[in-house]
């Protein structure tokens, strides 16, 4: 396919190279747009990423996108960054991944930088204090909803429930560093997984 296209366009490889360079820039522009217009981040970005990369352009197909989201969920870091890096790499290699990641980060970075210069200046106005007293209660409701949505997708078997409870108890009622809780739960999960697999093989 690729070689056919090249032959049709031009016999040498030069145009292909410039096309690649342009592709990285396009990745930057598209992910900049995605970063600038998705409020709240995370899952809000997925439909927009799908539209911009799989529907409007053929950078990846929808099955690949589902894989990319699954990988993004099981690797560290925000889904927006992970999927930008992944799609960038798939589409245009290392330059592509750098451009896409930079693109998705830059809008937040610029906007928060601007906000931080005046946020603290307004912090002592009475009206702002009153407004934030209300806002904090609203934010609490938002996080209850986020937790609720996560719990819907939660595997409801006994080991998972035990791990969730242990993580909650240790995080809420002890001074143990969160990192150790994360590592401990990962080890516990590995043991559960190992025994489940062994039982499945025997049975």
């Amino acid at each position: 396919m690729d070689s056919e296209k090249q032959q049709a366009d031009s016999p040498n490889t030069e145009p292909h190279k410039t096309a690649d360079k342009l592709l990285a820039l396009k990745l930057f522009a598209i992910f900049f747009k995605i970063g600038a217009f998705t409020f709240g981040g995370g899952y809000a970005m997925i439909p927009i990423i799908e539209r911009e990369t799989a529907e409007k352009r053929d950078w990846i197909n929808k099955d690949e996108l589902i894989d990319i989201i699954a990988v993004s969920e099981s690797t560290p870091g925000p889904i927006a960054i992970n999927s930008a890096t992944f799609i960038g790499y798939r589409t245009a290699g290392l330059p592509g991944s750098i451009c896409a990641t930079l693109g998705v980060v830059l809008p937040s970075f610029i906007i928060i930088l601007l906000i931080s210069t005046f946020l603290s200046q307004f912090a002592n106005y009475k009206g702002v204090i009153y407004a934030f007293n209300g806002i904090r209660a609203g934010v609490l409701a938002l996080i209850v909803k986020a937790l609720w949505s996560m719990a819907q997708k939660f595997p409801k078997d006994i080991p998972s429930i035990v791990i969730a409870l242990l993580a909650f108890i240790f995080a809420a009622f002890t001074e143990i560093n969160i990192l150790f809780i994360i590592i401990g739960c990962a080890l516990l999960g590995s043991a559960v997984y190992f025994f489940a697999q062994r039982r499945a093989r025997k049975g």
């Binding site: 690797t75 806002i135 209660a137 938002l142």
Partner: protein, 194 residues
């Protein structure tokens, strides 16, 4: 310079150890940020509202903000780079060895533990946020009679209903800001607060 390195390193750690999107970062961010005294518990809740009403993921937003507040533009660049870099490196490796990653038993095992753990830890973060919101001066019986306690409780209950009716987060924030403003000035007028 050491301040910049501390920012970079702390956010690198946060980026490296938080798996899953959204508020999976919150427990670790809370711990690190409070420990280093970069923000108060109340500031964190306020900033979640700012982050919900601006584009981009919470992790990037809070890294940029704390970096900028403590060390200016250089600080925000260091913190943001720190929080992004672990994802970037790991995804590059995964993209390269994709089929091995999908079949990996180690990843399967780790995820078996981390998926439920994240829920438990966010529940814990939520509990401490609730204490910050309802009892900003610490848990005591006197707090139950305070004006803002009841305003917060009613706002929270109302917003919870609206959130489950799928109102957009920004609308929730605007509405609760309105309630806060109205109740603040009403309370002042009725001399319930100074």
């Amino acid at each position: 310079m050491s301040g910049l390195f501390e920012l970079f390193f702390t956010f690198f750690k946060i980026g490296l150890f938080t798996i899953g999107g959204g508020y999976a970062m919150l427990p670790l961010v809370q711990q690190e940020v409070l420990e280093k005294g970069w923000m108060t518990a109340e500031d964190i809740v306020n900033f979640i509202a700012v982050s919900e009403s601006t584009p981009g993921p919470f992790a990037i937003n809070i890294a940029t903000y704390i970096g900028s507040e403590t060390h200016g533009i250089a600080g925000s660049a260091a913190a943001t780079l720190g929080v992004v870099l672990p994802s970037f490196i790991i995804i590059l490796i995964v993209a390269k060895f994709y089929s091995a990653f999908r079949k990996s038993k180690v990843i399967g095992g780790v995820m078996t533990g981390l998926r439920p753990a994240v829920i438990g830890m966010i529940a814990s973060a939520l509990l401490s946020l609730a204490l910050t919101v309802f009892f900003p001066a610490g848990l005591s019986l006197g707090q139950f009679t305070s004006y803002w306690f009841w305003v917060s409780l009613v706002t929270f209950a109302l917003m919870l209903v609206l959130v489950f009716k799928k109102l957009h987060p920004i609308i929730i924030i605007v509405l609760s800001a309105g309630i806060g403003l109205a109740c603040g000035y009403a309370g002042e007028y009725m001399q319930l607060i100074q």
